[in-house]
């Protein structure tokens, strides 16, 4: 007897042609792409996903300050909550999924050893204000991490407490303002190149400095002559220059030492935005270039995860001139013991300008960054920078004939900048082009930044990408450029087609901001 029961083991003939891709599903889901409502639509206020025993009767000491109205916070049980967040996670792109070429953001691999280290109870379960004798390992780690940062950058001191890059910038500029004040100087202006990150002018403005724009030269770099001219024009009134190096066009500023000298001669300081440190570790030290203060984004160069927008950490390295003004707190080594200096009372000879934050900075990030540094060592960090620069130039070499390089005269550092002139007359914008990359499985590069070129596309592959990964990326980009030039505009203008969402209406979001969930008004239903 032959048994003819059982499931078919081949796709039915002809099924490859039966178009199902546009067919709506009952649930709105598309297989693994699952729609997920808000917790406020599915949760309930009468359940909880945490078991807690009601306390015994007790005499309250709230003194009449008790809550009188409900909060309106729904809960999900643990299995429901797990599904909710796992489904949400599947709507995200991530460095663990693929190349994340965001220029100026340094999206490199995040080793899991670092996560594991940060979760050791000896780091994660210690309180910032428990007795110092019980946290000697933590203080040692902060001190050692600081020593590594100072060595890598060739500077004199480091302030560890800033919480992220922009906070570090603020810290560095505050040290500059404090040092100037100590000299009896009150200049009012800060030089900022047009190509700078937005945080630079925002930081200067927070300290009530007015910003003097420094135009870029035709080759994308800042000229010492122009800086000298502006110093002369604003004689005696320049507090500092804020310069990114390598700059946001991905170029090393060749006249940086001369610029530093000119600013110093004028009585000002040199603030360097350290966002692009990943290009020069072990190759050059900011301290040798005349830098007075530079923040270091541990969440870029030293690979602490971005986490969808933070947390970061922004320690600031300082020159000898600024070191005495470093903020509280700081760690000192005293024989074999480590001491946290928290108040001016016991600061010794220094003149801390104040305090950036409660407690001592982003310890969780320090642990991760230190593990990364130990793993790489002196040789590995240099190799990482060389590979980052190699990868950016390899992408450039693979695309330069099809895309447009605004600054072909200099080698790129760790990122390569294109402008949109290669899209001229195609009907495809930089934004369309980037959105089409999403359909190909890539996160877009940084767009429309820096502002010094039209329709900027800034690509930073980082050292984490293999040659095979870069080859596929280059081939994909070439295919997209050919398609744009070949008139396949629907591949771009409607993109992305295959993401969890199509293009979102940002105008609507800004004109009528809905910033929290509100229950739908019941009368609307009746009105229809």
């Amino acid at each position: 007897m032959v048994n003819s029961q059982g499931r078919p083991t081949q796709p039915q003939a002809g099924s490859e042609n039966s178009s199902g891709t546009d067919r709506p599903t009952f649930t709105g889901n598309r297989a693994l792409q699952l729609e997920e409502p808000l917790i406020f639509e599915t949760g309930r206020t009468d359940i909880t996903g945490v078991d807690l025993a009601e306390p015994d009767e007790f005499a309250s000491r709230l003194g009449g300050h008790g809550r009188t109205a409900p909060i309106d916070l729904p809960a999900l049980s643990e299995p429901e909550a797990m599904r909710h967040y796992v489904r949400l996670s599947q709507k995200n792109y991530a460095i663990d999924m693929g190349l994340y070429p965001l220029g100026s953001c340094t999206m490199k691999h995040n080793p899991r050893l670092n996560e594991q280290s940060a979760r050791l109870p000896g780091f994660s379960d210690i309180h910032p204000l428990q007795p110092q004798s019980t946290v000697q390992g933590a203080l040692e780690l902060i001190h050692e991490l600081g020593r590594w940062l100072v060595t890598i950058t060739g500077m004199q001191a480091v302030a560890m407490s800033p919480k992220a890059g922009a906070h570090g910038e603020l810290c560095g500029m505050m040290a500059i303002k404090a040092a100037l004040t100590a000299r009896g100087k009150t200049p009012t202006k800060v030089l900022v190149p047009e190509s700078a990150h937005g945080t630079n002018p925002a930081t200067a403005a927070l300290l009530r400095y007015s910003v003097v724009d420094v135009p870029a030269r035709k080759d994308g770099t800042v000229g010492a002559d122009e800086v000298k001219r502006l110093i002369a024009e604003h004689a005696g009134d320049i507090a500092a220059i804020m310069l990114t190096n390598p700059n946001t066009c991905g170029l090393f500023e060749p006249e940086i030492a001369e610029i530093a000298e000119a600013v110093h001669e004028a009585g000002g300081f040199f603030y360097c935005d350290g966002a692009n440190l990943n290009a020069i570790m072990g190759k050059a030290r900011p301290g040798d270039l005349g830098v007075d203060a530079m923040h270091i984004n541990l969440h870029k160069t030293f690979s602490t995860p971005h986490g969808g927008g933070g947390p970061g950490a922004g320690p600031v390295v300082l020159s000898g001139a600024l070191a005495p003004f470093a903020p509280l707190p700081f760690v000192e080594k005293d024989g074999n013991a480590y001491r946290l200096v928290e108040t001016e009372h016991d600061d010794g000879g220094s003149h801390p300008f104040g305090r950036m934050t409660a407690f001592h900075g982003q310890m969780g990030m320090f642990v991760r960054a230190y593990a990364w540094m130990l793993s790489h060592g002196s040789d590995g960090m240099k190799q990482a920078s060389e590979d980052a620069v190699l990868n950016a130039n390899y992408v450039r070499a693979g695309l330069a004939d099809l895309m447009s390089l605004p600054y072909p005269d200099h080698p790129s550092m760790h990122e390569v900048l294109f402008d949109d002139s290669f899209l001229k007359d195609t009907g495809v914008s930089t934004l369309d082009f980037a959105k089409a990359m999403i359909d190909e499985g890539y996160h877009p590069m940084t767009m429309y930044f820096p502002l010094v070129v039209h329709g900027a596309l800034l690509i930073e592959p980082t050292e984490s990408e293999s040659r095979a990964s870069l080859d596929l990326f280059i081939a994909t980009m070439r295919d997209l450029v050919m398609a744009a030039k070949g008139g396949e505009s629907e591949r771009f203008t409607g993109a992305p087609h295959f993401a969890p969402r199509r293009r979102l209406d940002e105008t609507r979001a800004a004109r009528n901001p809905i910033l929290k969930w509100a229950p739908p008004a019941p009368y609307e239903e009746a009105a229809e």
Binding site: G66, K91, F359, P411
Partner: protein, 447 residues
Amino acid sequence: MRYLPHTDQDRADMLARIGVGSIDDLFADIPADKRLKAPLDLPPHCGEMEVARMMRGLAAKNLSAVETPFFAGAGAYRHHVPAMVDHIIQRSEFLTSYTPYQPEITQGTLQYLFEFQTQVANLTAMDVANASMYDGSTGTGEAVLMAHRVTRRNKAVISGGLHPQYRAVVENLSQMADDRLDILPPDPAGSEDIIARIDDETSCVVVQSPSFYGQLIDMKPIAEACHAKGALLVAVFTEVVSLGLIEPPGAQGADIVVGEGQSIGNGLNFGGPYVGLFATRQKYVRQMPGRLCGETVDAEGSRGFVLTLSTREQHIRRDKATSNICTNSGLCCLAFTVHMTLLGEAGITRLARINHAKACRLAERLDAITGVSVINESFFNEFTVRLSEDAAETVERLTERGIVAGVPVSRLEPHNPDLADMLLVAVTETTTDDEMDRLVTALQEVA
């Protein structure tokens, strides 16, 4: 090197493709005399096993709060975080994603930020919350700057009940921005007359409840006095669990609410990373610092979320931005919102009640010890006791017995002899009866 995919052959082939002879040709723009000739004076790379051993060695030199009777608070609290929270925040798609500038492929991040904003707004009884600040202290500094922008006045009045390190952050920021501050002296009992300090030049009054010393403050009269003079009330908290039980600042008339969210979802981590909560009234939303996530629709009409009102932010507004903040506390928001989703209304209310009940019980027992007195009339889960000797010394002696008795006020207010005998004692749901017994016994012996 395990994190670098290239072989030397790959590198050579790639250099050939680029058309340069050596890697140093790509670094040619660095002035020759500025190039590093020697390797950095740091050790060479290490294997995972060796690094893990070094990290364990450092961690072992610290006393973890879960290993010992533990009563330290003062702005950072030992709470139980459900196991699921850490699993979710370690998912690749959340952990290794960037700021959601491409909304089509970051709806996961954007939706949880929208949920986070709603939870924070509801918890504080405010109209709108942002998608986080670095922590409570820097958030407080931003609140004072925001009040300046809203009122166009530049004198803030700071309560003596504000956490001293928060105060220092505000002081620093205000001084650098050439703003004026009127700072009241430390106020352990919550008896200061802050209303008398409000005048026509006041931009805002900053009040913390529960205060640094644990005292609960009635903010309604302060809010009324502020509004009568055209000033804003900035309400601060350092223990977000308290909002499960006490009247929220929004219901008391606060205009800006700012606080530390660490207690929900986030570990102690020696002080960071934490998550600053920041909420305000609808009418001030365009003066708010930080990121905001808003609801919209996509090209097919499906609901989705985007970062919005970005024109307030540094990457567009540059020197006219409301703040220079960029990277914030994204993943800590996620930890907060996952934990809060598990708790919900019933959970946060009960959690708060447990914290308060245990604190009441310990306060009563400590108060009964000769030479120890609780100074607060009202409190939530932390209170101040006056000892018969220097509190820092007591803490040191109890540490030798393996008990972290609390935070001596003098650690944060070192210049004030009147406060030297004061100890802040915090109690949470994690505090066991045995821990309380050991603290009571030890204090009886040393006090």
